[in-house]
């Protein structure tokens, strides 16, 4: 398996699984405007996933399409961060995850625009604008919920805390990223900047930045939480039920 294929899968799977979770809010959001906003965000994430998985398929060179990669891989072959697959929880949990993840994606895509791989650079160039909006949307909500009512403050804090143990995984560097120097972005390089940005938002929201805690990992090696299997069962069921069909 080529490094570039593997790297592209990581980014594509992050976006795909994030989109699947975001979409769970559609028709269930706290207000109509939020159905629209989360719909937009989910669509952006799904769009990124499609570009990246399509490119991964090309890089791999054995004829797998974006759909082959999304619908016909098993759980252990998915390379997404565990953060993306966690259950959505309440609205504050979803917003906490979006803040963490979109800020990460933003820093990543900013760098990736300079990749020597033109396709990745192109995807990043489009995506960076999208995720800037995601960051902004999450930030606005963290402020509103953190500095809203007592209940919303409590829930916002709980969301920030619950997602926190899944954040260090985003910045793990490894040989693969180093071998792809110039093409891939080593996420450890922007861990401090991420932390600075997150801290600023959390401070302004009157919440507390979560204490350091046990940090989960494994997503990049296909070791996931028990939640991913259920997500994939739903995602893949129709496609798997009609092997060889076109939709």
């Amino acid at each position: 398996m080529s490094d570039l294929f593997e790297y592209t899968l990581r980014l594509g799977d992050d976006a795909l699984i994030a989109a699947q979770r975001t979409a769970e809010w559609i028709a269930a959001a706290p207000q109509l405007e939020e159905d629209v906003a989360l719909g937009n965000i989910g669509l952006d994430q799904l769009g990124q996933a499609r570009s990246l998985l399509q490119y991964a398929g090309q890089v791999e060179g054995v004829g797998r399409s974006e759909d082959d990669l999304a619908y016909f891989r098993n759980e252990r072959d998915f390379r997404n961060l565990q953060l993306c697959e966690l259950p959505s929880g309440d609205f504050a949990h979803t917003i906490a995850r979006l803040l963490y993840f979109a800020t990460y994606q933003h820093l990543l895509y900013e760098e990736l625009r300079m990749s020597s791989d033109e396709t990745l650079a192109g995807v990043a160039g489009k995506a960076v604008k999208e995720v800037a909006y995601h960051v902004d949307h999450a930030t606005q909500w963290v402020l509103r919920l953190g500095d809203g009512t007592e209940e919303s403050h409590r829930r916002m804090q709980s969301g920030l805390d619950a997602m926190w143990p899944y954040t260090a995984e985003m910045f793990a560097s490894d040989d693969l990223v180093r071998r792809l120097a110039g093409i891939a972005v080593d996420p450890s390089t922007f861990a401090d900047e991420w932390s600075r940005r997150i801290t600023q938002v959390i401070d302004e929201s009157t919440c507390s930045r979560p204490e350091s805690s046990y940090q989960h990992d494994g997503g990049r090696d296909g070791r996931h939480t028990e939640h991913l299997g259920y997500l994939l069962a739903e995602l893949q069921h129709v496609a798997r039920s009609h092997p060889g069909a076109t939709w």
């Binding site: 028709a27 669509l43 509103r144 009609h242």
Partner: protein, 312 residues
């Protein structure tokens, strides 16, 4: 009274009534009821389709479906805004939906059982909605008419996407084709009933016609829908589940069997397969979101206060 004269003159001249114009109370009430019901239908209508977002069988279809359901939320927003120009507010209208005082289109009380239902809803349900709504683009009430122009444009896009889903299924595996036929079998009659009861049994219609809110009778629109849809079924290679369907060469129109309106009345009364589920889901989303809306309001108030303080 000069205002009312001017109202009637505008109506007679096929002009537009705007929010600040005088209007009869009955006109206002009828419009509020109709626009609210229409808005409610958009947001309840998100559910049967959202039901398949997580399971859409290709990423392209998933994206199209997400965008579609999102459009419906957008339609809900325009329509509530149009209703608000008549002096009600969205929160009240939502309360009336949640308490069952206002209705939504009964079509959304049927379940989506397979992926093909997503095609059928786009093709048939949005198709019927367009037939119903195109005349509303010329409705006498300006804000409603303008909202409908935008809604109709998007609906016709959705209708083509629905047809395309079915077209792909009908040209796919035997299992896919059977799924498409099954969806047509289940959605055909409910779609015909989207035009309401037969003219003979229809109430309110006459006054709405006079006011330029309604422009065609239920049966007229139903006929238009059948004439438009049957040839499309032929293109798909699907059989419309009506033994009484007959093409009249001379008029170029189809005659068709009478839908089972008893079923329609039952579903309107609350006795459809998904009435309880749809309303319960809506109420749950609303109640689960209450703390979020309260937080947003509290935050806005605090910000307002800060602004005032810094201005003082």
């Amino acid at each position: 009274l000069a205002g009312m004269d001017s109202f009637q003159a505008t109506i007679d001249a096929d002009g537009r009534i705007e929010p600040r114009d005088a209007m009869p109370e009955g006109y206002r009430k009828t419009l509020i009821r109709q626009i609210a019901q229409h808005a409610h239908s958009e947001i309840i209508g998100m559910q049967p389709e959202a039901n398949w977002i997580s399971r859409a069988p290709s990423l392209r279809r998933k994206a199209i479906l997400m965008a579609k359901v999102q459009d419906e939320a957008g339609h809900g927003l325009y329509l509530y805004a149009a209703a608000e120009t008549l002096g009600v507010d969205r929160a009240d209208l939502l309360d009336r939906l949640h308490s069952g005082k206002q209705k939504y289109s009964s079509i959304f009380n049927y379940p989506t059982l397979t992926w093909a239902d997503i095609g059928a809803i786009g093709w048939l349900v949005d198709g019927a909605a367009i037939v119903n709504q195109v005349p509303l683009c010329r409705c006498s009430y300006g804000p409603y008419a303008r909202a409908m122009v935008r809604v109709c444009k998007e609906e016709s896009f959705h209708q083509r996407q629905g047809f395309e889903i079915l077209y792909t299924l009908c040209n796919g595996t035997p299992g896919q084709k059977a799924m498409a036929q099954d969806a047509l079998d289940r959605w055909w009659w409910p779609s015909l009933m989207m035009f309401g009861p037969p003219d003979a049994a229809s109430t309110h219609s006459e006054q709405s016609m006079a006011w330029g809110i309604k422009r065609h009778s239920n049966d007229e629109l139903r006929q238009r829908f059948v004439d438009m849809t049957v040839p499309q079924a032929d293109v798909l290679g699907l059989r419309v589940p009506d033994d009484g369907l007959l093409y009249d060469e001379e008029t170029g129109r189809y005659s068709f069997s009478e839908p089972d309106y008893e079923e329609l009345y039952q579903v309107v009364k609350g006795n459809g397969p998904c009435n309880q589920q749809r309303l319960a889901n809506r109420v749950k989303a609303h109640e689960d979101g209450a703390w979020v809306r309260e937080a947003a309001a509290a935050y806005a108030e605090k910000q307002e206060l800060k602004k005032e303080e810094s201005a003082a």
